[in-house]
């Protein structure tokens, strides 16, 4: 019997159709991957199954969970269904748990609400479930609060409460997107194991083709609120009948064309030597000053003219802190940073403007990188503040025009406000802003991480092209190994504030030396590898 069958589902919110023509089925013990870019309707599909659609929504069609027709169930019946027949896991483990209640309490709640079990029984089931998801009693007693746990651990708690009553259907909405790759691998393994052992059906929603490719038995690709293609995973990837499937696939595996090798021997564009960055920790005791937290620990590296260097590491490894230090936004506790041979430091009034103009930055968040009150013209020309005689009049227009066309926008965009642009376009504007004073080096701090794969591919192409044309160096900071691999010449692997390995990108990824690098490479889901592996 199928645990989930959806046919002809249509959802609209305040009259806008967000889902249409959705047909899906899922059998026990199987994994159904739902893939799509943001706004494709993946999450809405999950919420339809949970019947937790936002207010003002209407749905039609048929949804059956373990044979029961949701359209004829009232709210009390739905409440009985949720948590008992269907469990759900969310994207953000940091906020998915109630911060003021213990983990045991929250897992036990699922049990108590549905079974009327006593407090003790419920807690013993909760204990069992937490053990099951890899949170053993000795380290994770029931009276722990969510804030005591890391993101991955919290996600395990969420899983524990979703499977506490062994539901027939488990829905996981981007369960690993907010996690580091190594943690992601563990959580995916756990889910897979649970599905097999408990004979549940898992509906796994993700934007990452590589994740589903290695996990899902069947797959549905969504775009603009509709399923464009569905079927067995291998079948889909082999045939790639639908153009969108093809596009998605190519974008995911995209490697921009990069011809030229960097020259070496000259003065490096950026020289980082023995840089140390400490943070003062908050006092726990009134009289004892806590030791400082060392976020960056004696890091040294160089970037040559025209070279693209990647900096990879998981969250908290110190890569963003290092980036801030390199940009002279924070002071250093040791070592020095040189740009074109000149000391680049935040001491005093900061670096000389002319020197500062040699290095620019592009941030991760395309929405937070711009002052929403300024026109693009003003946004992209902000770095001219660093120039003694900034261009005016026609010259200024020419420079704006050039910067915008350089990044694939048109000169008419200069008079628009930032809210009129999509995420990808905003990253282009961010790049234009960095380019406009013709720097030698651009620091790209997770610059493509927030973008959908197809957009990401375009931006990577743009960056590769610019680097080549304008002889630019990049420091490309990312947690995403595949992206770094696609665009950099050399890579630095960072862990706990130190560079544990560095070398030619291809060499490092093919033949990682440091155990940590090995672990990272192994944990990174790979589309190629998944498709190459024999079916299980």
């Amino acid at each position: 019997m199928t645990v989930l069958s959806i046919s002809d589902l249509k959802v609209d919110i305040h009259g806008n159709t967000v889902l249409h023509d959705i047909d899906l089925t899922l059998d026990p013990g199987r994994i159904l991957g739902i893939v799509g870019e943001s706004g494709s309707g993946k999450s809405m599909t999950a919420l339809s199954v949970m019947q937790l659609l936002p207010s003002g929504s209407n749905w039609s069609g048929s949804i059956r969970v373990a044979g029961a027709d949701l359209s004829i169930m009232g709210e009390p019946a739905l409440c009985r269904m949720r948590g008992r027949d269907v469990g759900m896991i969310f994207q953000e483990p940091m906020t998915a748990l109630n911060p003021v209640r213990t983990i045991g309490d929250q897992v036990a709640e699922t049990v108590r609400i549905h079974t009327g079990a006593s407090r003790r029984e419920a807690f013993s089931i909760a204990r069992e479930m937490l053990n099951r998801v890899g949170l053993p009693e000795d380290r994770f007693p029931l009276d722990r609060f969510p804030h005591d746990l890391s993101g991955g651990q919290r996600q395990r708690v969420v899983i524990a409460q979703a499977i506490a009553l062994r539901p027939k259907l488990l829905i996981a909405d981007e369960p690993t997107t907010a996690l580091d790759v190594t943690t992601q691998a563990q959580i995916l393994d756990l889910l897979k194991q649970l599905v097999r052992e408990e004979d549940m059906g898992l509906m796994l929603i993700t934007h990452d083709l590589a994740v589903v490719a290695g996990l899902a038995d069947s797959i549905a690709i969504m775009k603009d609120g509709a399923v464009v293609e569905a079927g067995a995973t291998r079948e889909i990837f082999r045939a790639m009948r639908h153009p969108y499937t093809r596009a998605l696939f190519t974008a995911s595996a995209h490697v921009p064309d990069r011809g030229r090798k960097p020259e070496s021997g000259k003065i490096p564009v950026l020289a980082v030597e023995n840089v140390v960055r400490d943070y003062q920790q908050p006092r726990r005791n009134l009289f004892v000053k806590p030791p400082p937290f060392r976020a960056v620990d004696h890091v040294s590296f160089e970037i040559s003219h025209g070279e693209n260097v990647g900096l990879v590491g998981e969250s908290g490894c110190g890569k963003s802190t290092l980036a801030r230090s390199i940009l002279a936004l924070d002071g250093l506790q040791g070592g020095d940073i040189r740009l074109n041979g000149h000391v680049f430091s935040s001491a005093g009034d900061g670096p000389h403007p002319e020197l500062r103009a040699r290095m620019q930055v592009v941030f991760q968040d395309p929405y937070g990188s711009f002052n929403p009150r300024h026109q693009v013209r003003r946004l992209v020309t902000e770095p001219f503040h660093l120039v003694k005689n900034p261009p005016r009049g026609a010259e200024l227009e020419r420079r704006i025009d050039r910067a915008l066309t350089e990044v694939g926008l048109s000169s008419s965009d200069a008079d628009k406000y930032i809210h009129e642009f999509s995420g990808g376009q905003r990253q282009r504007i961010a790049i234009a802003r960095a380019l406009i004073i013709e720097p030698a080096l651009i620091v790209l701090d997770e610059a493509v991480s927030a973008l959908d794969v197809s957009i990401r591919a375009q931006i990577l192409d743009l960056l590769a092209g610019l680097s080549e044309r304008l002889d630019l160096s990049y420091l490309f900071i990312s947690h995403d190994l595949s992206v770094v691999r696609a665009i950099t010449d050399r890579v630095l692997v960072m862990k706990d504030g130190r560079i544990v390995e560095q070398g030619e990108t291809e060499t490092v990824f093919r033949n990682p030396q440091h155990p940590y690098t090995q672990k990272l490479v192994a944990a990174t889901p790979s589309l190629e590898a998944a498709l190459a592996a024999p079916a299980d």
Partner: protein
């Protein structure tokens, strides 16, 4: 967390010291000589001078400040210029009215605000929500002294359900005393309840939008269950701050209401003392109120820690 509270305590004590200095200096520049006020229109200048030295008003400034603070630390607030009794006695007599009144008003305000705020938040944009919000808008806009006047007109003068004011004393029995505090408490509570209901509502709405509320619903909790079990305690945290602020505000802010109902409370004591230039009473009351505010702030910090386990980290 202990360190956090200790640091709070230290900075609060510093505030207290700074406050005492400010109060003392402000009182020094207040025009009006208490001695000549006490002696009246036809007073003999010699008698006034005699009184000044009797009151210790002719000592140098720093000496008087130190003397005052040293006295405060020992619980000795000095002798009232006008009443000629220890200030601590005066304050004690007034606190037994102001404090119960404050708590009464606070209790009323909470009792009105919580259900109203919860109702409005859980039925957002419904008729009930609009009614509650409209009523609270009005409640915030009504000056409490005007409301008090209207209450007296209706309930004391016309209906004669309550006495128009005054306080029979706790020795007259619990209920008569509570009855005497009822109209003043209502007048004080109305705007506070309105503010609190609004805070409760918006805090609850924020919490209802949190991810963990969706998790709770996904577990099979009904809307009501999710609200009671998961939203309320989280929503309470900002509400606590407001309750703390209101406590301090009510303790001192009853001045006008105490006047309308001629209740011999702290605010009225301070107001009277200002007009009579009984400076020692004024500054003692003000420092006491500042102290109360600081203590309440600290208690709210503690309550925070109780409500929010994130603040009582055990991992060191």
């Amino acid at each position: 967390m202990t360190a956090y509270l200790l640091r709070r305590l230290l900075s609060l004590s510093l505030s207290l010291v700074a406050a005492s200095l400010v109060i003392f200096l402000v009182m020094e520049v207040v025009p009006g000589d208490p001695a000549s006020f006490m002696m009246g229109l036809n007073a003999d200048p010699q008698a006034v001078a005699a009184l000044r030295s009797q009151l210790g008003l002719d000592e140098p400034l720093p000496l008087r400040y130190i003397g005052w603070v040293a006295g405060l630390l020992q619980g000795d607030f000095g002798i009232s210029y006008t009443y000629r009794v220890p200030v601590s006695e005066l304050i004690a007599e007034r606190v037994v009215i102001s404090l119960p009144l404050t708590l009464y008003a606070l209790a009323l305000s909470t009792l009105i605000a919580f259900p109203a705020g919860i109702l409005a938040a859980s039925r957002r944009n419904s008729a009930a929500d609009l009614t509650v919000m409209g009523a609270t808008q009005l409640g915030v806009a009504i000056p409490n002294f005007w409301f008090a006047m209207i209450l007296v007109l209706i309930f004391a003068v016309n209906l004669r359900w309550f006495s128009a004011g005054g306080f029979p004393g706790w020795e007259a029995g619990f209920w008569p005393a509570i009855k005497a505090l009822t109209l003043p408490a209502i007048a004080l509570a109305l705007p506070q309840a309105s503010i609190l209901a609004r805070v409760m509502r918006s805090s609850l709405i924020d919490t209802l939008n949190e991810d963990f509320m969706r998790t709770a619903r996904a577990k099979g909790l009904s809307r009501g269950q999710a609200l009671w079990r998961h939203a309320l305690r989280n929503a309470l945290i900002p509400v606590l701050t407001i309750i703390g602020l209101q406590f301090s505000f009510l303790l001192a802010g009853g001045i006008i209401i105490e006047n309308v109902f001629y209740l011999p409370g702290l605010g009225r004591l301070a107001f009277q003392a200002i007009t009579q230039r009984d400076l020692i009473v004024v500054r003692s009351v003000v420092i006491l109120l500042v102290f109360a505010v600081i203590v309440v702030t600290f208690l709210v910090d503690l309550a925070y820690a109780a409500a929010d386990p994130r603040l009582r980290r055990r991992r060191s």
